[in-house]
Amino acid sequence: MAMIKRHWKTLKTAAWLGWQMESNWTQPFLFAVYSILKPIAATMILVLMYWVVINPGYGGQAENAIMFSFLYVGNAFYIFVGQMLFGIFRVIQGDREWYQTIRNVYIAPISYYVYVVARALTQLVIASIAVVITLLFGVFVLGVQISLAVTDIPLFLTILVIGLVGVSAMGVILGGISFLTAKHMHGMNESVAGIFYLFCGVLFPISMFPVWGQFISRAIPLTYWFEALRRVLAPETLQIPTSLTQIDTGLLMLILLSSTIVLVLVSYFVFKGADYLARRKGVIDMITSY
């Protein structure tokens, strides 16, 4: 019981610290604008790409509203992936190299794993706001076809939570690895995020890949997350052959859940292993300077 209380206290304090560090560099209004401008702009790139292709003055292709919904919904939920993967990585790198406070936090009588996960909660909050705004903008301004039935809300929330746990676990894995890397290795987590962007069926069906590409896609749990989210939020996208279409939703959920459990376990052991190695090498508070 005492341990749970201590973890809860760590969780609350670290989440608050994370929120302050993310947001107190400017006025709340500017911070809100900053938080939503980037993802909205990334979404607008896709919107313009679509618009240019169907516009008679440019590409002149037939409208494909289902494909538009497919890429819009995928891109909206990808905000969680980009924000959380980069955010968790930045916790360790930022504390170590930037603020140089990692040694103080590390020797505090708390679980450092819980501390890192709690700091990720801040990213989750910021990403959630951006995702909601992106989806609302899509539905009300761009006419994206999203139809969430009331009876599907529990299923949607279940899928969302499982996926977010999985994304956090991936972030923790990268964060753990960052214990051992110099600060200029930020390309590593950006590359992982980029690989997910490309291979997880975020913007286009994975059936467009050759067989080896589809194999990679199917090996990443997030592919099933995006597919499951679309089935609930935009069921008409099932008309697009993704090569996952024939998988029953129940089985899809089972794959998503089991792979997420594996990811969480892997994240714990990778984090602890990297932590152990970093201590052995004496690099917990290293400063790589460039």
């Binding site: 980037k38 240019v52 390309g187």
Partner: protein, 271 residues
């Protein structure tokens, strides 16, 4: 040769040197800086292919993806550079050195252009090999357009560098904020004219907007009608920007340095 001129030329070379050497010495950077744009290019190419867009669009994506190397370099290694230097304690050394601060920024630009050119060339090569866009033509006009775009772009980066000098953590966030929104308004992956004339015209203050638009017109003549202005006019505007930005950079640098000295924040770290 005049001693001041010689000193400043040496300062330019001296500041460019670590960038040139550094860009070749750290293999992980080369790998990531080539891989990341290729991943984005691949995703956008697949979208266009899923939407059955004409092949020119694949070319737009490869070109835009390659030019992100220069934009990111201007943001993170020009605009934010003096701020980084302040954080790691180099800025006071630069301030004490008997050279013009413009030479320092000039050296950063020369080194940055070298490194980014390697990354951009690799991205184009990989993009063309992987995705086989439409047949390309290489008119000579492409060379002045490209060079003037880079001068204007890095001139703007020099101007931003002095503004960033005043900022603390805002610098990081500002640089981050100017990625996707600028990719959008500058039409990195689609003809900028599609944003509407006035939006595209406003975005033209960012040199890469007109640079990309001209390059698209020259490389893909079949869709030259999608350009914002004729290439000659765009070149003229770019030349004006290439003159104005370095001058503004010089003025801004002097003012910001003075202001930072008076506020006592010139070497203040961890804000």
């Amino acid at each position: 040769m005049n001693i001041h001129l010689r000193l400043n030329l040496r300062a330019i070379l001296g500041r460019a040197y670590p960038r040139v050497i550094g860009s070749l010495r750290e293999p992980s950077w080369i790998f990531f800086e080539i891989l990341l744009p290729v991943l984005a290019i691949a995703a956008y190419v697949f979208i266009y292919q899923a939407l059955e867009a004409p092949p020119e669009f694949v070319g737009f994506v490869i070109l835009g993806g390659a030019m992100t190397a220069f934009w990111l370099n201007v943001l993170w290694s020009m605009a934010a550079q003096l701020y980084w230097e302040k954080e790691i304690g180099n800025l006071q050394l630069y301030m004490m050195a008997p050279m013009s601060r413009m030479s320092l920024l000039g050296g950063m630009a020369v080194g940055g252009i070298f490194g980014s050119s390697i990354h951009a060339s690799a991205t184009v090569l990989i993009g063309v090999l992987l995705f086989k866009g439409p047949a390309l033509v290489f008119p000579l006009m492409l060379i002045p357009i490209f060079l003037v775009t880079l001068i204007a772009l890095y001139g703007m980066g020099m101007m931003f560098a002095s503004l960033y000098l005043m900022w603390g953590r805002e610098a990081w966030h500002m640089a981050s904020l100017m990625e996707e929104p600028i990719y959008f308004v500058s039409g990195f992956y689609f003809p900028v004219k599609a944003l509407g004339f006035w939006v595209a015209l406003s975005a033209s203050v960012i040199p890469i907007t007109l640079g990309l638009d001209s390059m698209r017109q020259l490389l893909f003549p079949s869709v030259a009608a999608w350009g914002l202005f004729p290439v000659e006019i765009e070149l003229g505007i770019l030349v004006v920007l290439a003159i104005i930005f370095p001058i503004m950079a010089r003025i801004a640098l002097a003012r910001m340095e003075n202001l930072a000295r008076r506020r006592g924040g010139l070497t203040l770290r961890w804000q």
